[in-house]
């Protein structure tokens, strides 16, 4: 059966998992992401962003909370406008589980140690570890975007042009808003305590 294929499991698990089940699985992965991020000094400074540097361990969880809350709120508001029948728990569950691929970013940093290039190299962007991290990071972000798109489709029962336009608008707004909120939170809640 088509929905049993690995492709569906990796890119559209929401046919089978949604709601609270998706939320709790996603939450487990998000917590692990926060732990790996804290251990490798890798921070999710926006919905699709990653930065490195010395920050308190707990700040990673704050950033993850902001990232998830932002996309859930933006998607829910969009669904209120364009969808006729949806549950917020499905949006919360699918958007939390959609973050699963992002756990790979701190794991990549663990092996590549790209952060050291920013301390040792005059031109860190040309460092092999930074270049490899970027090359491998983009497919992971793309995977995340595909999961968000499929999560929105399943949660709000959208199709065609309506789905594409809603996904693009909500993803762009969520990315910009999450970057701004994370930046503001770091400046007001993290920096004063360093």
């Amino acid at each position: 059966m088509k929905s049993n294929s690995w492709g569906n499991l990796l890119f559209n698990p929401f046919n089978r998992i949604a709601g609270w089940q998706a939320f709790f699985i996603g939450l487990g992965i998000v917590i692990l992401s926060g732990i790996f991020g804290g251990l490798t000094n890798t921070w999710y400074t926006g919905l699709f962003d990653m930065s490195t540097g010395a920050l308190p361990f707990w700040s990673g969880f704050m950033m993850l909370g902001i990232d998830i809350a932002t996309i859930v709120v933006v998607m829910s508001l969009a669904a209120l406008i364009v969808a006729k029948d949806f549950r917020i728990i499905d949006i919360l569950g699918t958007m939390t589980l959609a973050r699963a691929p992002m756990i790979l970013l701190p794991l990549l940093e663990l092996f590549l140690n790209a952060d050291s290039a920013f301390h040792t190299s005059a031109d860190p962007t040309s460092s092999p570890s930074v270049i490899i991290l970027k090359i491998l990071g983009y497919p992971i972000v793309l995977w995340h975007i595909v999961l968000i798109y499929n999560g929105l489709r399943t949660s709000a029962n959208l199709n065609g042009a309506k789905l594409i336009v809603t996904a693009i608008i909500t993803i762009v707004i969520s990315e910009m808003l999450s970057q701004y909120l994370v930046k503001t939170a770091i400046a007001n809640l993290v920096v004063p305590y360093i």
Partner: protein
């Protein structure tokens, strides 16, 4: 499977004749097909299962091993299809 569309021009078919298998009486006329018969066999099966599960989407999701919103979306799509047939 009951044919619902003309194999030649694809227009929706109507029932012209019904027959009693017991006495052989034939009733002729031009009767519209019920909307449910216009659905695909998979959609008809979905509706039968849905009725057997007392209209519980949660039970349907467990039975079909699909997520709740996926099953709800399948039902919404069938409702939209039936609405379009009735227009």
């Amino acid at each position: 499977m009951l044919p619902t569309h003309c194999p030649s021009c694809k227009h929706q078919l109507k029932v012209k004749s019904l027959v009693c298998e017991d006495c052989g009486t034939e009733v002729n006329g031009s009767y519209a097909l019920p909307p449910l018969t216009l659905l695909s066999p998979e959609e008809q099966d979905f509706i039968l299962t849905f009725v057997r599960k007392s209209g519980s989407l949660k039970d349907m999701a467990a039975h079909l091993k699909l997520s709740y919103p996926t099953v709800r979306n399948m039902l919404n799509d069938i409702i939209a299809k039936i609405d379009s047939y009735e227009k």
